[in-house]
């Protein structure tokens, strides 16, 4: 097992009620596995979209991206800068 940090911003942060959650994932787990595992916890996490934009260690990443212990996985709501 490996521990990664899930980060939540803006509307996702409001939904989850926290900016950061530590999550244990099996070795070899991908972003998709992490998302499914979180949503599987039920409310409020099941309110997250099934395919959110994510960044792994501060770079946008595909859901097929494999995770390593210590990775920072940010859930990125639709952005609205400018």
């Amino acid at each position: 097992m490996a521990t990664v940090t899930a980060l939540f911003f803006a509307a996702y942060r409001d939904l989850v009620g926290s900016g950061s959650v530590a999550v244990e994932v099996p070795d070899g787990a991908t972003v998709a596995d992490l998302v499914a595992s979180l949503r599987g916890r039920g409310a409020p996490f099941d309110g997250l979209p099934s395919e959110p934009a994510v960044a792994v260690n501060r770079s946008y990443a595909a859901h097929s991206e494999p995770l390593r212990a210590g990775d920072e996985v940010a859930f990125i709501p639709p952005v609205a800068g400018g």
């Binding site: 501060r58 770079s59 991206e65 952005v79 800068g81 400018g82």
Partner: protein, 147 residues
């Protein structure tokens, strides 16, 4: 060539941003300012709070600035994005560009603001006159697989 990009919680001074660009080889300078409007879809707005994924947003803003400078060969480019609570009229983003000719300056300036809207991990919550507030509907960034 100088390229600067930063997020800041302090008020943005247009003159200071303008002062970061322009040299004797430049024939064109463009300053773009995004400012907080007093309305959104016809609804009166009192202010906006900008939240950012700070560490990543700094990287992405630098990336966008560098891409613009390279792609259009502009001389200097500075972009500053504000975070925190802003009132109506305050500057949320300032982009200054200088280049020998005007076409590149316009194109690079426009590129930076459009890319900010597409992929800068920043969000804004509008505060309305009726006491309500809501996150502004944004743009889903493209998932870019890491190479």
């Amino acid at each position: 060539m100088s390229v600067h990009a930063a997020l800041t919680v302090d008020p943005v001074e247009p003159a200071a941003v303008l002062g970061c660009v322009g040299g004797s080889g430049d024939g064109a300078v463009i300053l773009f300012l995004g400012t907080v409007r007093d309305h959104a879809d016809g609804r009166p707005v009192l202010g906006i709070r900008y939240d950012a994924y700070e560490a990543m947003a700094s990287d992405v803003l630098r990336e966008i600035a560098g891409e613009a400078a390279d792609r259009w060969g502009v001389d200097d480019l500075t972009v500053i994005h504000r975070t925190g609570e802003l009132s109506v009229g305050e500057v949320s983003v300032a982009i200054a560009v200088s280049s020998p000719h005007r076409a590149e300056a316009y194109d690079a300036s426009r590129f930076v603001i459009e890319e900010i809207k597409k992929r800068l991990p920043v969000w804004k919550k509008e505060r309305y006159a009726d006491g309500q507030d809501s996150w502004v509907q944004g743009t889903t960034p493209e998932p870019v697989p890491r190479s």
